[in-house]
């Protein structure tokens, strides 16, 4: 019974990609806006506060690609430079909210018992307020400013991040490598920072991306309501709010900042999806 083993030849199988398309697209979109935020004032064609009274409310043209607003300011320049205030507020709010949420979630999940129960009920109460309403509450108590808008975003995010982190900690707390550390008699702080925290980065990074897209929406919402960035700062939310009276007459004054908002939000979301896919693929490839 002579049998030959077929040589494993080149087989037409779908090849798994190493870099998810979503990750590439997300990095590209967010990266573009980040560059705009960093060097915007030096690359835009006009100063953002320069009035071109002769050409107020001019339609997109060769001179003004995105048109001009009612004072004749260049919309393109304002949209590009405006990414700075939106990105800065959203990123700072996310960073603050994720950091505080991370610490609370880590502590709560690891300690467990009654402290955990108490903290989580408080978080439930905070979460029961609609996000924007809570942010408005915070800003109206503290006063309207960009810094307070950042604080209000953080307040909204803390309980949500704490929940996600806590549930991840609960999963790891009974892992055998954590129990091995407990048998060795490691201190709680060592176990949390050295054994548990390093394993939490993937879910935290993905969560931060999801939060970031909400933060963008909230910061522009607050600015739109006059509670975030203050005039004359070029800010997308502020631009939409101030120019909305000319929506019919000169739609570009609202259209372009709104399009920028949408693009950034989609970009951050896509980045989050891409990261999730990439981190998961890396995990399965390891196994």
């Amino acid at each position: 019974m002579a049998v030959t083993i077929p040589r494993p030849a080149a087989i037409a199988l779908p090849r798994a990609r190493r870099w998810p398309a979503a990750l590439v697209a997300g990095v590209a979109i967010l990266g573009t806006f980040a560059i705009f935020a960093a060097v915007g004032p030096w690359i835009v064609p006009y100063d953002v506060e320069q009035f071109h009274r002769a050409s107020a409310l001019e339609a997109p043209s060769h001179a003004f690609w995105f048109g001009t607003d009612r004072y004749g300011r260049d919309v393109l320049s304002r949209v590009v430079v405006g990414s700075r205030s939106t990105l800065a507020m959203a990123a700072a709010g996310t960073l603050l909210g994720v950091t505080v949420g991370l610490v609370l979630g880590l502590g709560s999940g690891y300690v467990g018992g009654r402290p955990d129960e108490a903290l989580m009920r408080i978080m439930d109460i905070v979460m029961s307020f609609p996000s924007l309403l809570l942010a408005l509450l915070v800003v109206s108590v503290l006063g309207a400013s960009a810094v307070n808008a950042v604080l209000s975003i953080a307040v909204v995010f803390v309980p949500r991040v704490a929940r996600v982190v806590r549930s991840a900690v609960l999963g790891l707390r009974t892992a055998e490598f954590v129990e091995a550390a407990q048998v060795r008699g490691e201190r709680g702080s060592w176990i949390v920072t050295r054994e548990i925290l390093p394993n939490l980065w993937p879910p935290i990074i993905v969560e931060a991306c999801v939060r970031m897209s909400f933060a963008v929406l909230m910061s522009v919402s607050l600015s739109y309501l006059g509670l975030g960035a203050q005039p004359p700062t070029p800010d997308w939310g502020l631009m939409v709010a101030k120019e909305r009276a000319f929506l019919v007459q000169a739609p570009w004054v609202v259209l372009f900042p709104a399009a920028a908002i949408v693009t950034l939000v989609i970009g951050v979301n896509v980045l989050g999806d891409g990261l999730r896919e990439w981190l998961m693929a890396r995990k399965t490839a390891d196994e």
Partner: protein, 695 residues
């Protein structure tokens, strides 16, 4: 072969993965005749499940049959469209999976699920389907079939669920049955009953069965032919008796030789482990697949691919040198007089025990229901460990055996200080230990270490091997400075037979066996006196198991460390232990030297365990002792003997009402049972070799 139900020819299966194309099965030929039970045996990564899923046309989305044909009753399965395939699957080919929990829908009663199969596939009317379902339930020995019919899966035990799945598989009288490790998740006593059931159903319905397993003991018990796979290729096949008595392929020989057996103990010498690891299936070897690890290899083996050669006694083998190999003999039966002397000698030491467990109790409170709280009923408790007293001598191994839920793991966790016992003491060197590890003195923590079951979870994925091993050295002050620590880490790696550069690796770069070696090295880094080993082998493949077991025995001999060895595998326990404690529902049934426990007089539970374990030797006969029913709840178990509800030797009411007394033999052998010792002494041995017992 005209009566072949299933005939796979030259079958190859490949998967697309991020790392590349994995050639999981290559050129496999497999025939299952009507009424025949064929075992497909291999370790993880051998391709046995891929082959079975290919036959069912149920490969994962990234898998393809890249070559070959699968004929079912002469029809090409690979050519069938989805509708035709659906008619064949379920009706003419049925499958039983490993986990009955996922095979049943949780929201439909089990009776309806089976009746649904009959209605959909056999077109039976509703009342008739119910009638036939009840008959099937009776056939699979489900007590009170009518009552079980209207139960939901979660209301049944794992064993009962698997009976339902088997009933469902036989519902349409399939011509081919594919069983993928159907008993792997079950306890041994339940497994034995399910295997009996499959054997009975087999004689009644006579389907062809393709039985996939890694457990050679199960194969020996009830299969006709065995097919051995390694790294995606079939290396040997033949009648069970021939393959077990005279295996031709070095891999088959290795598998049989590395199994711990009931007649082999550590004093007989190390087990024959298979060195090395599975070759990468991204680029499988062009020559013999087993060449790298083969103890019999010659230069020619790396040059050409061996063809399947017919073995005159039955079957075929894929090896260049099989005719030149010496006759197969497992170096085993015959525990030398020397070994027996050592075994009993180590026990005769009068030195005070190193670790004493004194009437230990661990109760988990059960949350009261609202009604119970309102009526102010006292909270009830699961008595996981309920009054266990044991002594562990220096440099000795005390094994704790029992089925899942018997409390053996809780006992281990209480000793290492991961959970606080409710009552009782653990004393180390005469002094009582604090209940939790963090309240114990640093030096005491150093002297008691632990090795866990799951190699995947035992190491932190984000820390390197060097960090994992270096930490106990730092914590317990066993290394002076970074250079000294690194030197010690390299020494530890050498002790567990791993090269020094492994210190820079992360756990995901290691195999399961290597991770478990690191876990062992981490435990030994602290230079402990006691190590609690909680099922350290049960997640490993058999060939790896032998190497890790040898390592543990060798380290104990060199370092005089005592082991508390928690396991459900009696063969491993027989090999490794000096003393054995058998636990059932939180209590001890029997305790004594390994020799005393494995020979009469037995506790009736020990007797049932010994009868149930699958032994990889067709020449061994086990007297049939089967336990009815599942392990009962450990909440409020009552006053009497815990085993009375399943005991085949139950005396009467006394067993239910009075705690059993201990019969203590001069050797220290203790049996807790109401049956008089004289009667227990008359019980014949459970396991016997046909054709002369070992001397």
């Amino acid at each position: 072969m005209s009566d072949a139900v299933l005939e796979a020819r030259e079958l190859s299966v490949a998967y697309a993965t991020p790392a590349g194309v994995v050639h999981a099965v290559r050129g496999a030929n497999l025939v299952v005749a009507a009424g025949e039970t064929v075992a497909l045996v291999g370790e993880s990564g051998s391709g046995k499940s891929s082959l079975a899923f290919a036959v069912m046309r149920a490969l994962d989305a990234n898998g393809r049959v890249t070559h070959g044909s699968i004929r079912f009753q002469g029809d090409e399965l690979l050519a069938l469209g989805p509708a035709a395939l659906q008619r064949v699957r379920g009706t003419r080919i049925a499958m039983v999976f490993q986990d009955p929990h996922t095979a049943l829908t949780p929201t439909i009663t089990v009776g309806e699920q089976v009746a649904e199969v009959l209605r959909a596939h056999a077109g039976v009317s509703r009342p008739k389907a119910r009638q036939q379902t009840l008959e099937l339930f009776a056939q699979v020995n489900l007590p009170d079939a009518a009552r079980v019919y209207s139960r939901y899966p979660h209301e049944l035990s794992g064993g009962q669920q698997q009976r339902i799945v088997i009933a469902m598989a036989f519902a349409c009288a399939p011509e081919l049955l594919i069983m993928d490790e159907p008993t792997t998740g079950l306890d041994v006593t339940t497994e034995a009953r399910i295997l009996d059931l499959i054997a009975e159903m087999k004689t009644r319905h006579r389907p062809g069965i393709l039985y996939i397993t890694h457990n050679l003991g199960v194969v020996a018990r009830f299969c006709d032919r065995v097919v051995v796979m390694y790294a995606g290729e079939i290396v040997e096949e033949g009648p069970v008796r021939r393959v077990f008595d005279a295996p031709c392929h070095p891999y088959t020989r290795g598998l049989l030789a590395c199994l711990p057996r009931l007649d082999r103990v550590k004093h007989d010498g190390p087990l024959a482990a298979i060195d090395g690891a599975l070759p990468s299936l991204l680029d499988p070897p062009r020559a013999c697949v087993f060449e790298e690890r083969c103890p019999e290899r010659r230069p020619a083996c790396a040059q050409s691919k061996p063809v399947l050669a017919v073995v005159p006694e039955g079957g075929a083998v894929r090896c260049l040198r099989w005719t030149e190999l010496p006759a197969f003999r497992v170096a085993m039966h015959g525990k030398g007089a020397d070994a027996v002397a050592k075994e009993t000698g180590s026990d005769a030491s009068l030195a005070p025990p190193l670790l004493t467990i004194d009437d230990l109790r661990c109760h988990y409170p059960v949350r009261r229901t609202l009604a119970e709280t309102l009526r102010r009923l006292p909270a009830r408790a699961v008595r996981a460990v309920d009054g266990v007293s044991l002594d562990l001598a220096r440099a000795a191994t005390l094994a704790v055996v029992g089925e899942s839920g018997c409390g053996k793991t809780t006992l281990g966790r209480a000793i290492v200080g991961l959970m606080a016992p409710t009552a009782g003491d653990v004393r180390f060197g005469g002094a009582a230990l604090a209940r939790l590890a963090r309240h114990r003195a640093r030096d005491l923590r150093r002297r008691i270490q632990v090795i866990f079951q799951n190699p995947e979870a035992t190491l932190n994925p984000q820390r390197t091997v060097g960090q994992a091993l270096g930490r106990p050295l730092e914590l317990f002050g066993l290394a002076r400075g970074g250079a000294d620590r690194d030197r010690r880490v390299r020494e530890l790696l050498a002790v567990v037979h791993l090269p020094p550069h492994y210190a820079d690796r992360h756990p995901h770069e290691l195999s399961g066996g290597e991770k478990q070696r690191i876990a062992i090295a981490r435990a030994f880094a602290a230079e402990p006196e006691v190590i609690v080993c909680d099922e350290p082998l049960s997640a490993l493949d058999v060939s790896v198991q032998a190497a890790v077991l040898n390592l543990l025995v060798d380290l104990q001999r060199r370092s005089a460390t005592a082991y508390l060895f928690i396991s459900h595998d009696l063969s491993v326990v027989r090999y490794v232990s000096d003393r054995v404690a058998v636990m059932y529902m939180g209590r001890l049934c029997e305790e004594g030297t390994a020799h005393d426990v494995f020979t009469p007089p037995y506790h009736p539970y020990t007797e049932a365990l010994l009868s149930a374990i699958p032994i990889a030797d067709p020449a061994v006969r086990q007297r049939r002792v089967r336990l009815d029913g599942p392990v009962p709840s450990a909440v409020d178990p009552g006053l009497g003997c815990r085993f009375h509800s399943r005991c085949p030797r139950k005396l009467g009411v006394i067993c239910e009402t009075t705690p059993p007394p201990a019969h203590v033999a001069p050797s220290g052998h203790r049996i807790w049972c109401h049956i008089p010792l004289d009667d227990l002494n008359r019980v014949p041995p459970v396991v016997e070799r046909m054709g002369g017992a070992p001397s």
